[in-house]
Protein backbone atom coordinates (compact mmCIF):
# COMPACT_ATOMS: atom_id res chain seq x y z
CA UNK A 1 0.00 0.00 0.00
CA UNK A 2 1.19 3.51 -0.75
CA UNK A 3 1.27 6.40 1.66
CA UNK A 4 0.74 9.97 0.48
CA UNK A 5 4.33 10.33 -0.57
CA UNK A 6 4.17 7.07 -2.49
CA UNK A 7 1.12 8.26 -4.42
CA UNK A 8 2.92 11.50 -5.25
CA UNK A 9 6.02 9.58 -6.28
CA UNK A 10 4.03 7.36 -8.64
CA UNK A 11 2.22 10.34 -10.17
CA UNK A 12 5.56 12.04 -10.74
CA UNK A 13 6.37 9.20 -13.17
CA UNK A 14 3.64 10.60 -15.41
CA UNK A 15 5.57 13.84 -15.87
CA UNK A 16 7.18 14.35 -19.25
CA UNK A 17 9.94 16.67 -20.28
CA UNK A 18 8.59 20.13 -21.09
CA UNK A 19 5.35 19.81 -19.15
CA UNK A 20 3.73 22.76 -17.44
CA UNK A 21 1.96 21.33 -14.42
CA UNK A 22 -0.71 22.51 -12.02
CA UNK A 23 -0.72 20.77 -8.65
CA UNK A 24 -3.68 20.96 -6.30
CA UNK A 25 -3.58 21.22 -2.55
CA UNK A 26 -2.71 18.17 -0.41
CA UNK A 27 -1.12 15.05 -1.94
CA UNK A 28 -0.71 16.71 -5.36
CA UNK A 29 1.60 19.32 -3.86
CA UNK A 30 4.00 16.53 -2.91
CA UNK A 31 4.48 15.55 -6.57
CA UNK A 32 6.93 18.44 -6.93
CA UNK A 33 9.32 16.57 -4.65
CA UNK A 34 9.66 13.61 -7.05
CA UNK A 35 10.34 15.08 -10.48
CA UNK A 36 12.41 12.39 -12.26
CA UNK A 37 16.02 13.19 -13.10
CA UNK A 38 16.67 14.42 -16.60
CA UNK A 39 13.32 16.01 -17.29
CA UNK A 40 12.34 19.65 -16.96
CA UNK A 41 8.91 20.74 -15.88
CA UNK A 42 7.51 24.04 -14.61
CA UNK A 43 4.85 24.42 -11.97
CA UNK A 44 1.97 26.83 -12.37
CA UNK A 45 -0.07 28.09 -9.47
CA UNK A 46 -3.42 29.53 -10.50
CA UNK A 47 -3.13 32.60 -8.30
CA UNK A 48 -0.55 33.90 -10.76
CA UNK A 49 2.89 32.34 -10.97
CA UNK A 50 4.72 30.12 -13.41
CA UNK A 51 8.04 28.72 -12.29
CA UNK A 52 7.09 28.15 -8.69
CA UNK A 53 9.96 27.08 -6.47
CA UNK A 54 10.24 25.49 -3.03
CA UNK A 55 9.11 27.04 0.24
CA UNK A 56 11.24 30.03 1.25
CA UNK A 57 13.84 30.19 3.95
CA UNK A 58 12.87 32.40 6.88
CA UNK A 59 14.51 35.47 5.41
CA UNK A 60 12.92 34.94 1.97
CA UNK A 61 9.33 34.94 3.24
CA UNK A 62 7.26 37.48 1.28
CA UNK A 63 3.56 38.19 1.82
CA UNK A 64 3.34 39.06 -1.88
CA UNK A 65 4.51 35.62 -2.98
CA UNK A 66 2.14 32.76 -2.19
CA UNK A 67 0.70 29.71 -3.93
CA UNK A 68 -2.92 28.72 -4.47
CA UNK A 69 -2.91 27.09 -1.05
CA UNK A 70 -1.89 30.48 0.40
CA UNK A 71 1.48 29.10 1.49
CA UNK A 72 4.55 31.28 1.12
CA UNK A 73 6.71 30.13 -1.80
CA UNK A 74 9.68 31.18 -3.93
CA UNK A 75 10.10 31.86 -7.63
CA UNK A 76 12.72 30.07 -9.75
CA UNK A 77 14.86 31.75 -12.43
CA UNK A 78 12.65 32.15 -15.51
CA UNK A 79 9.50 32.58 -13.43
CA UNK A 80 6.75 35.04 -14.30
CA UNK A 81 3.85 36.64 -12.43
CA UNK A 82 0.50 37.44 -14.03
CA UNK A 83 -3.10 38.26 -13.21
CA UNK A 84 -5.88 35.75 -12.58
CA UNK A 85 -7.46 36.13 -16.03
CA UNK A 86 -4.14 35.34 -17.70
CA UNK A 87 -3.64 32.45 -15.29
CA UNK A 88 -6.96 30.84 -16.11
CA UNK A 89 -6.38 31.67 -19.76
CA UNK A 90 -3.40 29.32 -19.51
CA UNK A 91 -5.59 26.69 -17.90
CA UNK A 92 -8.70 26.98 -20.09
CA UNK A 93 -6.56 27.41 -23.18
CA UNK A 94 -4.91 24.02 -22.45
CA UNK A 95 -1.41 25.36 -22.15
CA UNK A 96 -0.97 23.40 -18.92
CA UNK A 97 -0.13 19.79 -19.86
CA UNK A 98 -0.91 18.06 -16.61
CA UNK A 99 -3.21 18.75 -13.69
CA UNK A 100 -3.10 16.78 -10.46
CA UNK A 101 -5.81 17.16 -7.88
CA UNK A 102 -7.56 15.36 -5.08
CA UNK A 103 -11.13 14.05 -5.06
CA UNK A 104 -13.85 12.88 -2.73
CA UNK A 105 -15.45 10.68 -5.39
CA UNK A 106 -14.77 9.56 -8.95
CA UNK A 107 -17.16 7.85 -11.33
CA UNK A 108 -16.38 5.23 -13.95
CA UNK A 109 -17.26 7.88 -16.57
CA UNK A 110 -14.55 10.19 -15.31
CA UNK A 111 -16.85 12.48 -13.32
CA UNK A 112 -15.25 14.04 -10.27
CA UNK A 113 -16.69 15.42 -7.03
CA UNK A 114 -14.35 17.29 -4.75
CA UNK A 115 -15.86 20.55 -3.58
CA UNK A 116 -19.09 20.18 -1.71
CA UNK A 117 -20.71 17.94 0.87
CA UNK A 118 -24.40 18.74 1.32
CA UNK A 119 -25.17 19.77 4.87
CA UNK A 120 -21.59 20.77 5.58
CA UNK A 121 -20.09 24.22 5.29
CA UNK A 122 -19.24 24.73 1.64
CA UNK A 123 -15.98 26.55 1.14
CA UNK A 124 -16.17 26.79 -2.62
CA UNK A 125 -14.64 25.28 -5.71
CA UNK A 126 -11.76 27.74 -6.09
CA UNK A 127 -10.14 26.97 -9.43
CA UNK A 128 -11.06 23.27 -9.50
CA UNK A 129 -13.97 23.57 -11.92
CA UNK A 130 -11.90 25.53 -14.42
CA UNK A 131 -9.08 23.02 -14.12
CA UNK A 132 -11.15 19.88 -14.64
CA UNK A 133 -13.27 21.36 -17.42
CA UNK A 134 -10.23 22.50 -19.37
CA UNK A 135 -7.30 20.15 -18.95
CA UNK A 136 -6.74 17.19 -21.27
CA UNK A 137 -4.62 15.30 -18.81
CA UNK A 138 -6.11 15.19 -15.35
CA UNK A 139 -4.75 12.82 -12.76
CA UNK A 140 -6.49 12.34 -9.47
CA UNK A 141 -4.50 11.58 -6.35
CA UNK A 142 -6.52 10.13 -3.49
CA UNK A 143 -7.14 7.29 -1.11
CA UNK A 144 -9.06 4.42 -2.68
CA UNK A 145 -11.65 4.42 0.11
CA UNK A 146 -12.97 7.02 2.52
CA UNK A 147 -12.57 7.02 6.28
CA UNK A 148 -15.62 4.79 6.64
CA UNK A 149 -13.95 2.27 4.34
CA UNK A 150 -16.33 2.94 1.44
CA UNK A 151 -15.06 3.03 -2.12
CA UNK A 152 -14.45 6.42 -3.69
CA UNK A 153 -14.40 4.85 -7.18
CA UNK A 154 -18.08 4.66 -8.01
CA UNK A 155 -20.54 3.90 -10.75
CA UNK A 156 -21.90 7.39 -10.24
CA UNK A 157 -20.82 10.15 -7.91
CA UNK A 158 -23.25 10.83 -5.08
CA UNK A 159 -21.84 14.25 -4.22
CA UNK A 160 -22.34 17.42 -6.28
CA UNK A 161 -20.00 17.28 -9.26
CA UNK A 162 -16.95 19.41 -9.94
CA UNK A 163 -16.73 18.25 -13.55
CA UNK A 164 -18.01 15.58 -15.90
CA UNK A 165 -16.12 13.01 -18.02
CA UNK A 166 -12.79 14.64 -17.39
CA UNK A 167 -10.55 12.42 -15.27
CA UNK A 168 -8.35 10.01 -17.25
CA UNK A 169 -6.26 8.44 -14.52
CA UNK A 170 -6.33 7.94 -10.78
CA UNK A 171 -3.48 6.96 -8.51
CA UNK A 172 -4.61 5.70 -5.10
CA UNK A 173 -2.96 4.04 -2.16
CA UNK A 174 -3.89 0.71 -3.78
CA UNK A 175 -3.00 1.16 -7.44
CA UNK A 176 -3.15 2.97 -10.75
CA UNK A 177 -6.34 2.95 -12.81
CA UNK A 178 -7.18 4.50 -16.17
CA UNK A 179 -10.73 5.69 -16.72
CA UNK A 180 -12.20 5.15 -20.16
CA UNK A 181 -15.19 3.67 -21.93
CA UNK A 182 -17.25 3.83 -18.77
CA UNK A 183 -14.96 1.76 -16.56
CA UNK A 184 -11.94 1.80 -14.30
CA UNK A 185 -9.10 -0.14 -15.96
CA UNK A 186 -6.59 -1.49 -13.49
CA UNK A 187 -3.05 -0.85 -14.71
CA UNK A 188 -0.75 -1.29 -11.73
CA UNK A 189 -0.91 -2.55 -8.18
CA UNK A 190 0.66 -0.79 -5.24
CA UNK A 191 3.37 -2.85 -3.55
CA UNK A 192 1.78 -5.62 -1.49
CA UNK A 193 -1.72 -5.13 -2.92
CA UNK A 194 -3.61 -7.88 -4.73
CA UNK A 195 -6.12 -7.63 -7.54
CA UNK A 196 -8.79 -8.89 -5.15
CA UNK A 197 -8.13 -6.07 -2.73
CA UNK A 198 -8.67 -3.59 -5.58
CA UNK A 199 -11.86 -5.40 -6.57
CA UNK A 200 -13.19 -5.20 -3.03
CA UNK A 201 -12.38 -1.52 -2.76
CA UNK A 202 -13.83 -0.47 -6.12
CA UNK A 203 -17.58 0.05 -6.35
CA UNK A 204 -17.66 1.15 -9.99
CA UNK A 205 -17.16 -1.08 -13.00
CA UNK A 206 -13.63 -2.45 -12.86
CA UNK A 207 -11.80 -4.07 -15.75
CA UNK A 208 -8.80 -6.24 -15.01
CA UNK A 209 -7.21 -7.27 -18.26
CA UNK A 210 -4.39 -9.80 -18.15
CA UNK A 211 -1.63 -9.82 -15.56
CA UNK A 212 -1.44 -6.59 -13.58
CA UNK A 213 2.10 -5.59 -12.68
CA UNK A 214 3.13 -4.13 -9.38
CA UNK A 215 4.31 -0.57 -9.81
CA UNK A 216 7.99 0.26 -9.70
CA UNK A 217 9.05 3.11 -7.45
CA UNK A 218 12.66 4.14 -7.60
Amino acid sequence: MLDKNGIAQRIAQELEDGYYVNLGIGIPTLVANYVPDGISVEFQSENGILGMGPFPTEDQVDADLINAGKQTITALPGASFFDSAMSFGMIRGQHVQMTVLGAMELSQDGDIANWKIPGKMVKGMGGAMDLVASAENIIVAMMHTNKAGESKLLEKCSLPLTGVRCVRKVVTNLGVLDIKDGAFHLRELAPGISVDEIKNATAGKLIVDGDIPTMKLA
Partner: protein, 231 residues
Amino acid sequence: MIRKVVKNAEEAVQGLKDNMTLMLGGFGLSGIPENSILAIRSNGAKNLTCISNNAGVDDFGLGLLLQTRQIKKMISSYVGENDLFEKLMLSGELEVDLIPQGTLAERCRAAGAGIPAFFTPAGYGTEVAEGKEVRYFNDKPHILEHAFEADFAFVKAWKGDEAGNLIFKGTARNFNPLMAMAGKITVAEVEELVPAGELDPNFIHTPGIFVQRIFQGVNYEKRIEKRTVRS
Protein backbone atom coordinates in the same frame (compact mmCIF):
# COMPACT_ATOMS: atom_id res chain seq x y z
CA MET B 1 -2.34 65.46 -16.01
CA ILE B 2 -5.82 64.26 -15.13
CA ARG B 3 -6.30 64.74 -11.40
CA LYS B 4 -6.91 61.49 -9.51
CA VAL B 5 -4.95 61.71 -6.31
CA VAL B 6 -7.03 61.80 -3.14
CA LYS B 7 -5.75 62.40 0.37
CA ASN B 8 -6.62 59.10 1.95
CA ALA B 9 -8.97 56.15 2.07
CA GLU B 10 -11.78 58.19 3.65
CA GLU B 11 -11.81 60.58 0.71
CA ALA B 12 -11.48 57.65 -1.70
CA VAL B 13 -14.70 55.96 -0.54
CA GLN B 14 -16.85 59.06 -0.85
CA GLY B 15 -20.11 58.25 -2.57
CA LEU B 16 -20.19 54.68 -1.30
CA LYS B 17 -23.79 53.93 -0.30
CA ASP B 18 -26.07 51.18 0.93
CA ASN B 19 -26.92 48.41 -1.55
CA MET B 20 -23.95 49.02 -3.80
CA THR B 21 -21.89 46.30 -5.46
CA LEU B 22 -18.15 46.36 -4.79
CA MET B 23 -15.22 44.48 -6.19
CA LEU B 24 -12.22 43.95 -3.94
CA GLY B 25 -8.89 42.67 -5.20
CA GLY B 26 -6.70 40.08 -3.54
CA PHE B 27 -6.20 36.34 -3.26
CA GLY B 28 -6.39 35.09 0.28
CA LEU B 29 -4.88 37.96 2.24
CA SER B 30 -2.36 38.81 -0.48
CA GLY B 31 -2.90 42.05 -2.35
CA ILE B 32 -6.03 43.10 -0.50
CA PRO B 33 -6.99 46.80 -0.25
CA GLU B 34 -6.39 47.04 3.48
CA ASN B 35 -6.88 50.79 3.81
CA SER B 36 -10.04 50.86 1.72
CA ILE B 37 -11.63 48.06 3.73
CA LEU B 38 -11.10 50.05 6.92
CA ALA B 39 -12.60 53.13 5.26
CA ILE B 40 -15.61 51.15 4.05
CA ARG B 41 -16.10 50.06 7.62
CA SER B 42 -15.98 53.69 8.82
CA ASN B 43 -18.31 54.73 5.99
CA GLY B 44 -20.86 52.28 7.34
CA ALA B 45 -22.67 51.52 4.07
CA LYS B 46 -24.86 48.44 4.49
CA ASN B 47 -26.36 45.69 2.35
CA LEU B 48 -23.25 45.57 0.22
CA THR B 49 -22.63 42.94 -2.42
CA CYS B 50 -18.92 42.12 -2.48
CA ILE B 51 -17.22 40.43 -5.40
CA SER B 52 -13.93 39.10 -4.09
CA ASN B 53 -12.17 35.78 -4.60
CA ASN B 54 -12.09 35.21 -0.83
CA ALA B 55 -13.72 36.69 2.22
CA GLY B 56 -10.76 37.37 4.46
CA VAL B 57 -10.29 35.90 7.93
CA ASP B 58 -12.19 36.69 11.10
CA ASP B 59 -10.22 39.76 12.08
CA PHE B 60 -8.67 40.90 8.81
CA GLY B 61 -9.66 41.70 5.26
CA LEU B 62 -13.34 41.38 4.41
CA GLY B 63 -13.86 39.63 7.75
CA LEU B 64 -13.95 43.15 9.21
CA LEU B 65 -17.03 44.02 7.16
CA LEU B 66 -18.68 40.77 8.17
CA GLN B 67 -18.21 41.77 11.81
CA THR B 68 -20.12 44.99 11.16
CA ARG B 69 -22.77 43.13 9.14
CA GLN B 70 -22.25 45.47 6.18
CA ILE B 71 -22.17 42.65 3.63
CA LYS B 72 -25.42 41.24 2.33
CA LYS B 73 -23.92 38.99 -0.32
CA MET B 74 -20.52 37.55 -1.19
CA ILE B 75 -19.61 36.51 -4.74
CA SER B 76 -16.44 34.43 -4.39
CA SER B 77 -14.71 31.24 -5.42
CA TYR B 78 -13.50 30.15 -1.99
CA VAL B 79 -14.64 31.32 1.40
CA GLY B 80 -13.08 29.10 4.02
CA GLU B 81 -10.88 30.30 6.86
CA ASN B 82 -13.57 32.35 8.58
CA ASP B 83 -15.77 31.24 11.47
CA LEU B 84 -18.06 34.27 11.45
CA PHE B 85 -18.60 33.79 7.73
CA GLU B 86 -19.76 30.24 8.34
CA LYS B 87 -22.11 31.32 11.12
CA LEU B 88 -23.68 34.12 9.06
CA MET B 89 -24.00 31.87 6.02
CA LEU B 90 -25.65 29.01 7.89
CA SER B 91 -28.04 31.39 9.67
CA GLY B 92 -29.08 32.89 6.35
CA GLU B 93 -27.86 36.38 7.26
CA LEU B 94 -25.32 36.23 4.44
CA GLU B 95 -26.00 35.22 0.85
CA VAL B 96 -23.15 33.46 -0.91
CA ASP B 97 -22.71 32.94 -4.63
CA LEU B 98 -19.83 30.57 -5.35
CA ILE B 99 -18.24 30.84 -8.79
CA PRO B 100 -15.33 29.01 -10.42
CA GLN B 101 -12.21 31.10 -9.96
CA GLY B 102 -11.40 31.42 -13.65
CA THR B 103 -14.97 32.42 -14.42
CA LEU B 104 -14.83 34.99 -11.64
CA ALA B 105 -11.66 36.48 -13.12
CA GLU B 106 -13.01 36.46 -16.67
CA ARG B 107 -16.31 38.05 -15.65
CA CYS B 108 -14.35 40.91 -14.09
CA ARG B 109 -12.20 41.36 -17.18
CA ALA B 110 -15.27 41.14 -19.43
CA ALA B 111 -16.94 43.91 -17.45
CA GLY B 112 -13.96 46.16 -17.96
CA ALA B 113 -13.48 45.25 -21.61
CA GLY B 114 -17.06 45.73 -22.81
CA ILE B 115 -17.68 42.02 -23.43
CA PRO B 116 -21.17 41.40 -22.04
CA ALA B 117 -20.99 37.60 -22.16
CA PHE B 118 -18.72 34.72 -23.14
CA PHE B 119 -18.67 30.95 -23.21
CA THR B 120 -16.51 28.88 -20.88
CA PRO B 121 -16.27 25.14 -20.25
CA ALA B 122 -15.89 25.64 -16.48
CA GLY B 123 -18.80 24.31 -14.48
CA TYR B 124 -20.56 22.43 -17.26
CA GLY B 125 -22.52 19.52 -15.81
CA THR B 126 -22.36 20.92 -12.28
CA GLU B 127 -24.78 23.00 -10.25
CA VAL B 128 -22.88 26.09 -11.43
CA ALA B 129 -24.42 25.52 -14.87
CA GLU B 130 -28.00 25.34 -13.65
CA GLY B 131 -30.24 27.65 -15.66
CA LYS B 132 -27.41 28.71 -17.95
CA GLU B 133 -27.28 28.36 -21.70
CA VAL B 134 -25.17 25.44 -22.90
CA ARG B 135 -23.55 25.39 -26.32
CA TYR B 136 -21.05 23.04 -27.94
CA PHE B 137 -17.88 24.29 -29.61
CA ASN B 138 -15.57 21.68 -31.15
CA ASP B 139 -17.84 19.03 -29.62
CA LYS B 140 -17.16 20.31 -26.15
CA PRO B 141 -19.93 21.74 -23.95
CA HIS B 142 -19.61 25.31 -22.68
CA ILE B 143 -21.82 27.57 -20.62
CA LEU B 144 -22.63 31.23 -21.15
CA GLU B 145 -21.39 33.56 -18.44
CA HIS B 146 -22.04 37.30 -18.10
CA ALA B 147 -19.91 40.29 -17.20
CA PHE B 148 -20.24 41.62 -13.67
CA GLU B 149 -21.25 45.16 -12.83
CA ALA B 150 -19.70 47.01 -9.94
CA ASP B 151 -20.28 50.49 -8.53
CA PHE B 152 -16.84 50.56 -6.94
CA ALA B 153 -13.69 48.52 -7.41
CA PHE B 154 -11.06 48.64 -4.68
CA VAL B 155 -7.60 47.47 -5.62
CA LYS B 156 -4.22 47.43 -3.97
CA ALA B 157 -1.01 47.99 -5.93
CA TRP B 158 2.65 48.07 -5.08
CA LYS B 159 3.43 51.33 -6.87
CA GLY B 160 1.26 53.87 -8.57
CA ASP B 161 1.71 57.27 -10.16
CA GLU B 162 -0.38 60.42 -10.18
CA ALA B 163 -1.77 59.49 -13.61
CA GLY B 164 -3.34 56.41 -12.03
CA ASN B 165 -0.93 53.88 -13.53
CA LEU B 166 -0.42 50.84 -11.34
CA ILE B 167 2.25 48.19 -10.83
CA PHE B 168 1.64 45.09 -8.73
CA LYS B 169 4.17 42.85 -7.02
CA GLY B 170 4.47 39.07 -7.26
CA THR B 171 1.31 37.07 -6.75
CA ALA B 172 -0.33 40.05 -5.04
CA ARG B 173 -1.39 41.02 -8.57
CA ASN B 174 -4.11 38.33 -8.88
CA PHE B 175 -7.57 39.88 -9.37
CA ASN B 176 -6.48 43.48 -8.88
CA PRO B 177 -5.83 44.50 -12.51
CA LEU B 178 -9.09 42.87 -13.67
CA MET B 179 -11.22 44.55 -11.05
CA ALA B 180 -9.48 47.84 -11.72
CA MET B 181 -10.87 47.65 -15.26
CA ALA B 182 -14.37 46.88 -14.07
CA GLY B 183 -15.42 49.42 -11.47
CA LYS B 184 -17.62 52.39 -12.35
CA ILE B 185 -15.37 54.08 -9.84
CA THR B 186 -12.05 52.36 -9.31
CA VAL B 187 -10.10 53.23 -6.19
CA ALA B 188 -6.45 52.23 -6.08
CA GLU B 189 -4.41 52.26 -2.91
CA VAL B 190 -0.66 51.92 -3.35
CA GLU B 191 2.31 51.31 -1.13
CA GLU B 192 4.24 54.00 -2.95
CA LEU B 193 2.76 56.88 -4.93
CA VAL B 194 5.16 58.62 -7.34
CA PRO B 195 4.85 61.55 -9.77
CA ALA B 196 3.80 60.80 -13.36
CA GLY B 197 6.81 59.92 -15.45
CA GLU B 198 8.65 57.91 -12.81
CA LEU B 199 7.19 54.56 -13.81
CA ASP B 200 8.42 53.01 -17.05
CA PRO B 201 5.45 53.18 -19.50
CA ASN B 202 6.50 49.79 -20.85
CA PHE B 203 5.89 48.08 -17.53
CA ILE B 204 2.55 49.39 -16.34
CA HIS B 205 0.15 46.62 -15.32
CA THR B 206 -2.95 48.81 -15.09
CA PRO B 207 -3.06 51.90 -17.32
CA GLY B 208 -4.33 55.00 -15.53
CA ILE B 209 -7.48 55.24 -17.63
CA PHE B 210 -9.07 52.59 -15.42
CA VAL B 211 -8.36 54.35 -12.13
CA GLN B 212 -10.54 57.22 -10.93
CA ARG B 213 -9.03 57.72 -7.48
CA ILE B 214 -5.61 56.87 -6.13
CA PHE B 215 -3.96 57.34 -2.75
CA GLN B 216 -0.93 56.25 -0.84
CA GLY B 217 -1.95 53.72 1.77
CA VAL B 218 -0.60 53.59 5.31
CA ASN B 219 0.24 51.00 7.96
CA TYR B 220 0.20 47.96 5.69
CA GLU B 221 0.03 44.81 7.73
CA LYS B 222 0.29 42.40 4.75
CA ARG B 223 -0.63 39.49 6.91
CA ILE B 224 0.49 36.01 5.86
CA GLU B 225 -2.15 33.30 6.06
CA LYS B 226 0.11 30.24 5.89
CA ARG B 227 3.71 31.00 6.61
CA THR B 228 5.50 27.96 5.26
CA VAL B 229 9.27 27.75 5.34
CA ARG B 230 11.90 25.31 4.23
CA SER B 231 13.66 23.49 7.02
